[in-house]
């Protein structure tokens, strides 16, 4: 291998090794460290793990986070699908490109500010309740509820889910849809007989991204959901910022990573599973 090739490879390996792998492995190691007199000490003890895994509030948080992220994934998938379907099958290619560009924008704009906007809009004296009030409805409590959390999660994930679903649907071979019609498939059955099976991999990957993003987000459950109970990311923040208990926070982080790896592996298996070739 010559110097030219190494000049491109080594700096990247060094940088990512030092600043990506380094932090991750250190965090895993840290979950076994001890804290004495507010100072962290290198050790290999299972105390943090034992403590965190036996606390009811940790498991409450875990299942609440899991459930809310799952709910957001379900809602995002169902809400995005008709929109993605419209973009894939009912508009011109130029319109589709424009729409995807529009959907990329929020991905790169401050999620924090968008959440704050929702907070103001959904508040009891906010715009939506004021609007409903004029027709004699409400006010409804939307903040500090699971509804608020899901609205927050969707603010983060919906554009990405729509984009990924649109790409999956637009890439379907139209001949296969026509072939289904030709073999007697009525219009109302094409969706589940051909379109969904053909786009399956893309739809699952979109849902997976939605789950990962929601599961790791602290803004929506904190500001929109009222943090009752706190989700795992909020637990990490509280443990790190106020308690100085970094090793315990690391335990929660490692739990989250293991969960996400399992979910990702299962989704990818589901998405790309091939039938056995007998």
């Amino acid at each position: 291998m010559n110097r030219f090739a190494l000049a491109f490879r080594l700096p990247v390996i060094a940088w990512q090794g030092l600043f990506f792998l380094g932090p991750l492995f250190f965090m895993i190691a840290m979950s076994f460290f001890l804290v004495k007199n507010y100072r962290m000490e290198e050790a290999f003890e299972l105390k943090n793990w034992a403590r965190m895994l036996t606390r009811g509030y940790v498991w409450d948080s875990y299942w609440y986070t899991f459930g809310m992220a799952g709910l957001a994934t379900l809602v995002a998938t169902l809400v995005a699908f008709p929109a993605a379907y419209a973009l894939a099958f009912r508009v011109s290619e130029a319109t589709r490109r424009w729409a995807i560009f529009l959907l990329i924008i929020p991905f790169f704009t401050s999620y924090l500010v968008r959440t704050f906007s929702w907070y103001v809009i959904l508040a009891e004296s906010g715009a939506i309740n004021a609007g409903l009030g004029t027709v004699g409805l409400g006010p409804y409590t939307m903040l500090n509820t699971p509804f608020g959390t899901v609205v927050g999660y969707l603010t983060l994930t919906l554009p990405l889910v729509v984009i990924l679903q649109t790409v999956a649907l637009a890439n379907i071979d139209r001949n296969l849809v026509q072939a289904a019609r030709n073999l007697g498939c009525p219009p109302e059955r094409t969706l589940f007989a051909v379109i969904v099976p053909l786009a399956k991999a893309g739809l699952i990957i979109a849902a997976l991204f939605c789950f990962i993003l929601s599961f790791g987000d602290f803004v929506a459950p904190y500001y929109m959901g009222g943090s009752k109970p706190p989700t795992l990311p909020i637990l990490i923040i509280d443990t790190t910022k106020s308690g100085q208990q970094w090793p315990r926070a690391a335990v929660v982080a490692v739990m989250m990573m293991l969960t996400l790896f399992s979910i990702a592996a299962a989704s990818i298996w589901l998405a790309y599973r091939k039938r056995s070739s007998a």
Partner: protein, 262 residues
């Protein structure tokens, strides 16, 4: 025709989804010019008061300066990392290429809060936390994959014989890189720099954890939001939107629009 009705319903739904996505962006801008402390319907009167207060605030000015330094530095480092990986992937095949690519592409699949904790712990351990450049290091890792993806897409479009032709005509590898590959990739490089700057400019979780006293704009927003309802957030937010959207549009103008067409 029922097909026509279905189409109308689908397009209507699409419109609602777009409204949901863009409502908070539009609302933040509208509220930032609204005199009410707690905006609702009907709106109060027009004011630039909130902008006046943030421009007068020294802490916000400091944060803006920090944000600009961080996002510019991040975009330079991340684009260099992205280019090196994209070029290596384009030109070479070697054992362990999979892990090599994973090393640069994986960070976005890990929740930011976990990256934040890991970065904070590691950087403090090696004595590099609490500085402006701590944020730059962390952000370069988080944003390099975006640069890699955009530059790699551009390299897909190059005629693979172009570089070999330059060597054949007597260029050294460095010379061919400078005179063939870099000019070809220039739009993608500019675009990658814009997008990585935009991501860095908006990132708050990792910045909040590792920044110490050197706050960036999103960290300030986070702190204000943790306090009370303060319409200053809308004014700062509108300016942040303006910056990010400008960067994304620039990226689009330079490159993304060309990927879709051959």
């Amino acid at each position: 025709m029922s097909a026509r009705i279905t189409t109308v319903v689908l397009l209507g739904w699409l419109l609602l989804v777009l409204v949901f996505i863009f409502a908070p962006i539009v609302a933040a801008v509208v509220f930032s010019f609204n005199s009410d402390r707690f905006p609702t319907i009907p709106l109060g009167s027009f004011t630039t008061h909130w902008y006046d207060t943030i421009f007068a605030d020294a802490e916000i000015g400091e944060a803006a300066r920090n944000s600009i330094i961080v996002s510019l530095s991040t975009s330079v480092i991340a684009t260099m990392l992205g280019f090196a990986t994209a070029y290596t992937d384009y030109r070479y095949s070697f054992r362990l290429k999979g892990p090599y690519l994973a090393l640069i592409l994986l960070p976005p699949t890990i929740p930011l809060i976990i990256m934040a904790l890991a970065m904070l712990a590691w950087l403090s351990w090696i004595g590099a936390s609490g500085q402006l450049w701590s944020i730059i290091i962390a952000h370069s890792v988080l944003t390099a994959p975006f640069a890699m993806a955009i530059i790699r897409l551009r390299l897909n479009q190059i005629d693979p014989n172009l570089e070999a032709a330059a060597w054949n005509l007597g260029s050294s590898e460095w010379r061919a890189l400078r005179s063939v590959i870099l000019p070809f990739c220039r739009p993608a490089i500019v675009s990658a720099a814009c997008l990585t700057a935009a991501v860095s400019f908006d990132e708050f979780a990792v910045a909040w954890f590792v920044s110490g006293l050197n706050k960036t704009v999103p960290v300030i927003i986070l702190e204000i939001v943790q306090g009370n309802i303060d319409p200053q957030v809308n004014a700062i937010g509108s300016l942040v939107f303006l910056t990010s959207i400008t960067l994304v549009v620039l990226a689009q103008v330079f490159f993304i629009s060309r990927i879709g067409r051959t």
